[in-house]
Symmetry: C2
Subunit: 126 residues, 2 copies
């Protein structure tokens, strides 16, 4: 009835579930998108993304690095220069992410509209 078979992603303790939890945080998708055009410096990402703190950027990049999606190049220069780029594995995530960006572009207004029509306690009335 439910139509989900065994090994179905998301619904079990499988690699797919882990992969989803990998990207399901506030900044991962945005950072991957920021890296999608080629190597970018730490400071450039800060400017580009807007709203992310240095700490969260570093933390997100470190996790992506540990998961094999991003590669870090630290040049022994002064002032220090560090560039990040997608690995081939990380690059395979760009397509799904682009689908999300297109969805967002097309439906972002509809979501805002729904929020507007449904003023739930998103802002708590404390």
């Amino acid at each position: 009835m439910s139509g989900f078979g065994p090994g179905d992603p998301f619904l079990a303790d499988c690699p797919a579930r882990l992969a989803v939890e990998l990207i399901a945080d506030k900044w991962t998708v945005v950072v991957l998108y920021g890296l999608s055009k080629g190597p970018v410096r730490h400071g450039e990402l800060i400017e580009l993304i807007g709203g992310i703190s240095r700490k969260m950027l570093t933390q997100t990049l470190r996790r992506l690095e540990a998961h094999g999606l991003v590669r870090r190049h630290a040049y022994a220069e002064v002032p220090p220069r560090v560039e990040y780029e997608l690995t081939p594995l990380g690059a395979t995530l760009i397509d799904p992410i682009h689908m999300l960006t297109e969805w967002a572009r097309a439906n972002g207004d509809a979501v805002l509209d729904a929020i507007d029509a449904d003023p739930e306690p998103v802002t708590h009335t404390d």
Copy 2:
């Protein structure tokens, strides 16, 4: 150089950014996936997803409802029966989510492999 134009999603204060933050939490994507086959009851989702608590399920569904992606049907029966289903807007998210599931299916092992090859302090060495 960076190649991102004005109004580029993720990189600015636009509806797209909001939409991404909408789905960028631990359970939203999984719950949407669980709803992708048609109306499902609260309890079914608990069984189906595995690992989610009732609290987080309700919370996630409420947010999705407030954002116009999910519709709630509460039947005045005893014992109570509540069904959730995607709205047409919510259904438009299924395609991007399926791309993620396919990515995960194809690359989940590669991610696990990278983690294995890179035993970073995921478990802190305290």
